[in-house]
């Protein structure tokens, strides 16, 4: 299935791209699954997305949890804790 993935703020700089369209196996059905898949790329991916790193994820522009499901056509954004205001 196809999903749109975004990397924002410091994460975009660490990963070297603002986002990408990804074709992923339907078995990768959660936020945690997608994170694991991306970490498997190694290098900066493994470091920036490592478990224990303060990371937030939004699915279709709503804050998500590791267990939140990812469906075809979803927009999944990875970003650091927010610092506005």
């Amino acid at each position: 299935m196809k999903v749109k993935v975004l990397y924002l703020a410091s994460l975009r700089e660490q990963l070297g791209k603002p986002g990408e369209d990804l074709e992923i196996a339907p078995a990768v059905s959660t936020v945690a699954g997608l994170r694991t898949l991306l970490m498997a790329r190694g290098g900066a991916w493994q470091t920036a997305l490592a478990q224990g790193k303060a990371l937030r994820v939004a699915v279709n522009q709503e804050m998500a949890q590791p267990t939140t499901s990812v469906k075809p056509g979803d927009e999944v954004a990875f970003f650091p804790p927010v610092t506005g205001g």
């Binding site: 975004l6 924002l8 703020a9 410091s10 303060a54 939004a58 522009q61 709503e62 804050m63 954004a77 970003f79 650091p80 804790p81 927010v82 610092t83 506005g84 205001g85």
Partner: protein, 161 residues
């Protein structure tokens, strides 16, 4: 729209007047303005001087997140009108960053709703600050104190609060 994201500066007086619209039921107007400081980003007060700041956001989600916070404030407190203006792009020390205005019949509800909106904005709205310093650029780290400030509003206040 109670929520605006913009690069240009805002005039709190103009915004407040537009929000009040001389409504004779309004007895209180609470407002907050967040301003860009020249240092002390993140938890480390290391004395580094910040010369410039860039505010980035997640277009689309930002508006939704802020609207959700405003809606939540309106269910928790008896307030009338709410406005949130947040700037993005390049800012310098002393520049205004964010404006929150809440109108209501009485000050208690307006003050509380205004503070709640800021606390939730700081922890839930997708904005990120990057500071320029003489030592180079750095992303501002989230503060634990902001999480604590937001947590005190949970669970929703009881009627006795």
């Amino acid at each position: 729209m109670p929520v605006r994201i913009q690069t240009k500066d805002f005039d709190a007086g103009v915004e407040i007047a537009a929000l009040r619209r001389d409504n004779p039921k309004t007895g209180a107007v609470a407002s907050f303005i967040g301003v860009c400081r020249d240092g002390n980003g993140g938890d480390a007060n290391d004395g580094t001087v910040v010369t410039k700041m860039t505010l980035e956001h997640y277009p689309g989600m930002t508006e939704k997140a802020l609207e959700k916070i405003v809606a939540e404030a309106k269910t928790r407190w008896d307030v009338m009108e709410v406005l949130v203006v947040h700037r993005v792009g390049e800012l310098k020390p002393a520049d205004q960053i964010v404006l929150v205005v809440v109108t209501g019949a009485h000050r208690g509800e307006a003050f509380a709703a205004c503070e709640f909106i800021m606390d939730y904005l700081k922890t839930r709205a997708p904005f990120w600050k990057k500071e320029e310093t003489p030592q180079g650029a750095r992303w501002v780290e989230a503060r634990a104190s902001d999480d604590e400030a937001a947590q005190r509003w949970e669970p929703p206040k009881s009627s006795a609060a």
